[in-house]
């Protein structure tokens, strides 16, 4: 990285920082996309479970049985809970909010939360409370009267974009991509600026220490170096500058000699 070093390096660093920002933004967007898709799939699964339980219970209610008298209800929800490890509890409750059947073995509740009770008129409702989502539906008898409801609780998926884990996002692949893109961009900048920087370096070398001597008077090596930069506009401009300097130098030397001669004359 001789030619095009500093500027290409600065450009490469700037682009590397922005690539990092781009990949961070991509990671955040991807995490959001993943969490949303995962949440939707979970919701679809639990919605189906609620719908299945609702159909089973309403079939029995359609036969004229009352909700508290459904003997198989407890076994039904126990089986469903046993089949799905993501479920926290399943509750069946009466229209007045009284808890009838539950898989909650602690059994400290006698009534369901008021929000569940209030949502009974909706075909499917969702209530989230402290990271736990309740999904439920009303239960109707054969006459279309809401006689109770069923609610299923599960841990709501964490939708935070901060929940990035190496095993959930291709973090190593993103890091590799960043390194590769930075390298390629840096190489691109070096290649783009290489010709100019090489020419400038050649001209800087050709001008040498510049102790009163001209670009074109430093021998064949200087000529060769200067020739690399001569193709760019800076080459002729420096040659004209050197011509002007030599002219000034010659005039100053002549005047100096003349003054010395006049001084010696007397």
């Amino acid at each position: 990285m001789s030619a095009g070093g500093p500027l290409a390096l600065r450009l490469g660093l700037a682009v590397a920082a922005l690539l990092l920002a781009a990949l961070l933004a991509a990671a955040l967007l991807l995490a959001d996309l993943r969490d949303r898709a995962e949440a939707e799939l979970r919701a679809a699964r639990f919605t189906y479970t609620v719908a299945t339980l609702k159909v089973s219970l309403e079939t029995a209610l359609g036969l004229g049985l009352s909700l508290p008298s459904l003997e198989g209800a407890q076994a039904l929800i126990d089986d469903e809970l046993a089949r799905d490890p993501d479920l926290l509890s399943i509750d069946i409750f009466a229209a007045d909010g009284r808890l009838l059947f539950t898989t909650d073995t602690v059994g400290i509740r006698s009534r369901v939360p008021e929000r569940w009770h209030a949502a009974l008129d909706q075909p499917l409702w969702r209530v989230e409370d402290r990271g736990v989502e309740a999904l439920g539906s009303g239960l109707e008898n054969a006459f279309g009267v809401v006689v109770g409801g069923i609610a299923l609780r599960h841990a709501a998926p964490t939708a935070s974009v901060l929940s990035l884990a190496p095993d959930r996002l291709p973090a190593a692949a993103l890091a590799g991509l960043w390194a590769l893109a930075t390298l390629l961009a840096g190489l691109g900048f070096v290649l783009l600026l290489r010709r100019d920087e090489a020419a400038l370096a050649a001209l800087a070398t050709a001008t040498g220490p510049w102790r009163g001597s001209a670009v074109r008077s430093q021998g064949p090596d200087a000529d060769r170096h200067a020739g690399r930069g001569a193709a760019l506009p800076v080459g002729p401009a420096l040659a004209a500058f050197e011509d002007r300097c030599r002219m000034i130098e010659a005039r100053l030397a002549a005047a100096d000699a003349e003054i010395a001669r006049l001084d010696r004359q007397d």
Binding site: G5, L18, A22, D84, L203, A240, L252
Partner: protein
């Protein structure tokens, strides 16, 4: 008249490379990530498939256990259709006999799923990919004996609408970051190449005019810096010789009282210093870089921030076109007002002052836009943003040299055109994703814009033309 540039302008390829690197990397990351997410969601799809399949298999198992042969289950297609209607992600349901032969298949992708299963050497025992989705086999039991399988195909993992929203937001962020990359590259080029080259041009021109007393106070990295240092040393060497001549003449005059040699010495000194100008060491540096690109970069950054903040508009009613027009109209209407203000009312003020004032007004209004919730407050913020942008735009472009205005003029116009585009994006992506991410991005843009704005503050007074300086004796 401005001298020709000393090096060819490499801005366009450098800026294009910077933008391309950001956009290509973001696109690659998006593709990579979407594929990773697709794989990551397989277990979730399998769970849905298993949940639905278990229900279907339970119904079939009850019938088979009651004595109905698996091949002669009645009403299966109608029943499967009710299951399919439950969720559009269920694209096929296939019932397999114990020997792996397809007994029933329903759903929009039932054909490909059945064909894939027929080609399968044996009945699947684990979740598998089918017809672009996933399916988990669930056994149908007659008592305890398996007589068949149910496979509910669920997929794809990522819905088209979610992918579209993701793509739109990624595109918006990608465009913003690509613009930032271009601005950063432009700033670096300006600071490390354009300004030093302007300095070198000035040194060469000053030498041509015979002024050896001034220095360029900037710095440049690499070969350009070395070249400028050598040019300055060369000029310093000549200035030293001129000073030496003056001292020699002064010394030679000492002790001479005859006018003839004194006149001869004066004449020799005058001849030696002919064409050289006498400048004091305290004169201000005459060489200033062209700051117009940086000013335009800052304006472009502000426009970008404005475009990114457009989706922060509250609830979007009515038709998309009307909303997009309404959103874009406020800043666009205010920009001409800002331009008029800068050109007419503030015509007597320095260009840099107008630019700084406009940029600060726009930046403050953008911050306020992100902070206020009320529609009225946001409307006022947008009007102020537009007016500030107009002032800054006018100060950045009025009287600027033409040879560098094309790219950033184009960028500014492109970003102006991007305002309605961003509004359209906001309408197309009404999910909560945009408002949650954009304030952070806008803050980042504002920070960089502020940095660029700070760099554009006029720190030097342009030098008077050399022709008016005191000639050498």
């Amino acid at each position: 008249m401005r001298p020709p540039p000393l090096l060819p302008d490499r801005s366009l390829p450098v800026l294009a490379l910077a933008m391309l690197a950001v956009l290509a990397t973001l696109a690659a990351a998006a593709l990579l990530g979407v594929r990773g997410i697709d794989r990551h969601l397989h277990p979730a799809l399998d769970s849905v498939s298993e949940t639905v399949g278990r229900d279907v298999a339970g119904q079939a198992s009850r019938a088979v256990t009651a004595g109905v042969p698996f091949d002669r289950l009645a009403g299966v297609p109608a029943y499967l259709d009710t299951i399919l209607a439950f969720d559009p992600r269920i694209v096929a349901i296939v019932l397999l006999r114990a020997d792996g032969v397809v007994a029933h298949a329903r759903g929009p992708l039932a054909g490909p799923a059945a064909a894939a299963l027929t080609a399968h050497p044996a009945a699947p025992t684990a979740p598998l990919g089918l017809a672009g989705g996933r399916a988990a086999p669930v056994p149908v039991l007659a008592g305890e004996a398996p007589v068949g399988q149910v496979l509910v195909v669920v997929g794809p993992a990522l819905e088209a609408s979610a992918l579209l929203r993701f793509a739109l937001v990624a595109l918006l962020i990608g465009l913003g970051l690509a613009a930032l990359a271009a601005l950063s590259a432009r700033t670096l080029l300006c600071l490390t190449r354009d300004r030093p080259l302007d300095g070198l041009t000035g040194l060469l021109a000053e030498t041509d005019r015979g002024d050896l007393g001034r220095r360029w106070e900037g710095s440049a990295p690499g070969a350009l810096g070395r070249l400028i240092a050598r040019v300055e040393r060369r000029r310093a060497d000549l200035a030293g010789r001129a000073h030496h001549l003056t001292l020699s003449a002064f010394a030679a005059r000492a002790g001479h009282f005859d006018p003839a040699p004194l006149n001869a010495i004066d004449a020799a000194e005058r001849q030696g210093l002919d064409g050289l100008q006498r400048t004091g060491l305290t004169d201000p540096p005459p060489l200033t870089g062209d700051e117009a690109p940086l000013r335009r970069a800052a304006v472009a950054g502000l426009l970008l921030a404005e475009a990114l903040l457009l989706p922060l508009w509250p609830a979007l009613p009515a038709s998309a076109a009307a909303v997009a027009l309404g959103l874009a109209a406020l800043p666009l209407l205010a920009i001409p007002f800002g331009v008029w203000l800068a050109r007419r009312v503030l015509a007597g003020f320095a260009r840099g002052l107008i630019f700084t004032a406009g940029a600060l007004i726009a930046a403050a209004a953008l911050v306020a836009l992100g902070a206020v919730e009320e529609t009225g407050g946001r409307a006022v913020s947008r009007l102020l943003t537009g007016a500030g942008l107009g002032m800054a735009l006018a100060a950045a472009t009025i009287g600027a040299p033409r040879h560098r205005s094309g790219l950033f003029g184009g960028a500014a116009l492109a970003l102006l055109a991007g305002l309605p585009l961003a509004a359209a994006l906001a309408v197309l992506a009404p999910a909560a994703l945009l408002p949650t991410l954009l304030p952070g991005i806008a803050a980042m843009v504002l920070a960089i814009t502020g940095l660029l704005g700070g760099l554009t503050l006029p720190a030097r007074v342009p030098a008077a033309p050399s022709e008016h300086r005191e000639p050498a004796p």
